[in-house]
């Protein structure tokens, strides 16, 4: 019997590569090529002549950069764990049968889908020292509220609080999914054994949520570096650079000061740190996934 003429078929391997072409085309164009250009640009001076290490020399002495770096480290180091912790707590609270559960979940989640700039405008008003709502409410209790955004010591924590408020709801969904995947029998078993609620959470739930936590942590970390929109709206990096963040500084240097070469040097540093963190997290995550 004559075999049906099969259409000419690419070998599997070649086919796989072909599938990857669109993705890699865009990655090369908008990640690899710019990355290479950034490296080259960082080695040129303001008149675009080079190569020179001047930008990096300047980076080592730049106080504003140092401030932005410290601010970012604080920002990420605090908002990521706090958002995740709150998200976990909220997920546990809003998972059990509860009247109005859907409404509550919606309320907590809503800020997560709103534009950061809209939230920034809202909170800019709330944080006004003399005419804003927060201090007005505090005034009812006889407390003089501080200048949340105008005090160099308070501005960063105020911004962090706002970000946590926005993001916790988003990660709550991650945890709700994670909780759903936990075998309810475990809950039963604990109850029968008389294990306290909190111990059950600590010994059973929390460890089982680790994969979720790791994944959410990657997203949260990227977000904490990426989201600088509120700086544009609320503080423009001030006062005295106490709310200056790296990505915002890169924007100012590149677009407001017309110094793309120095901006490139700063960007590379930021990318270096981000990649190192990413590789670390991926190793952890991958191990976790394979372990399961």
């Amino acid at each position: 019997m004559k075999a049906r003429t099969a259409p000419r078929r690419l070998p599997d391997q070649v086919f796989a590569y072909a599938l990857l072409v669109p993705a890699f085309a865009f990655l090369v164009l908008f990640t690899v090529k710019p990355l290479v250009s950034t490296v080259l640009s960082s080695l040129r001076d303001r008149r675009d002549e080079g190569p020179t290490l001047d930008n990096y020399r300047f980076l080592a002495e730049d106080e504003v950069f140092r401030k932005a770096l410290v601010n970012n480290l604080l920002f990420s180091a605090l908002t990521v764990p706090v958002s995740l912790a709150l998200a976990m707590l909220l997920a546990v609270l809003l998972q059990r049968a509860l009247r109005g559960k859907a409404l509550l979940r919606a309320g907590v989640f809503a800020p997560a889908i709103l534009p950061v700039v809209a939230i920034a405008v809202i909170w800019l008003y709330f944080y006004q020292p003399n005419i804003g709502v927060i201090n007005e409410v505090l005034g009812w209790f006889g407390i003089t509220g501080p200048d949340w955004l105008g005090d160099t010591a308070l501005v960063l924590p105020s911004l962090m609080a706002m970000m946590v408020w926005k993001e916790a709801g988003f990660f709550m969904i991650f945890y709700l999914a994670g909780l759903q995947a936990i075998d309810p029998e475990l809950d039963e078993a604990s109850r029968l054994e008389g294990t306290g609620r909190f111990t059950h959470f600590r010994r059973v739930t929390f460890p089982l949520l680790m994969p979720t936590t790791l994944f959410a942590a990657i997203v949260a970390l990227a977000d904490s570096i990426k989201m600088v929109d509120f700086v544009f709206v609320m503080t423009q990096g001030g006062p005295d650079n106490s709310s200056n963040l790296l990505l915002y500084y890169i924007y100012r240097v590149t677009f407001a000061q017309h110094w793309p070469q120095y901006g490139a040097a700063i960007s590379l540093l930021v990318i270096g740190v981000l990649v190192a963190l990413a590789v670390l997290q991926i190793r952890l995550l991958d191990r976790r996934i394979h372990y399961r």
Partner: protein, 259 residues
Amino acid sequence: MDRIVSWPDRVETALAWLAGLLWTAPLLYVFVRAFESGTADLSSAWQAAPFGRYYLNTALLVTGITAAQLVVGVLAAYAFARFEFPLRGPLFVFVLVQLMIFPEVLMSENYRTIAGFGLLDTLPGVGLPYVASAFCVFFLRQAFLGVPDELVEAAQIEGTSRLGILWKVFVPAAKPSIVAYALVSISTQWNNFLWPLIVAVSDETRPVTVGLVRFLAPETGLDVPRMAAGTVIVTAPLLALFLIGQRQFINSFLRSGIK
């Protein structure tokens, strides 16, 4: 067995309600202020800036980018999930690393690339850098990995082509993940501000986020009803969509199995 409502239960319930209230209070306040003079503030805000145009831009951007991301992502995820080929591991790590090297951190060079294509101040100029999404590839690969081998074998026996298998077996099986991803991408792109700020300078291309900031011009002082009205205009559609599709949204996340 009836559960006696115990004290810990009551505390938990109270905490849950407290949290819910704390979280929604700011938004509720804004909505109340926006409507305090009826719809006057809303209509004057709507007329003060071309919000209709801003919305159109946002809608086009958001659907265009998400669609493109899914097309590109589905193909790449298929490759990573179901095929063996040299360098598969390193290439996948390469894609993942892009999770951290997002377009904004390369803003200067991406700006030059887009300018070089003559796409400054156009919607494609805003959207193109986002088309390759590591998150999408990762997420869909997870979903594809979970598809049972039997389904694939059955299709192969029938003689379906590899792309046919992708379309007929994998994509339907991963639908919850695709929907979840699409929703996340839509809301992420809806909220995008910095890159559009740099690239979309005129009213014809501004999305709603940039338009809002221009409209409010915070540097000119705070007019609370105006600010509230503008914020409501920008956020109400998103919130409405969310409230309607909330169950779907959350459920698709839950079913997609981010674990």
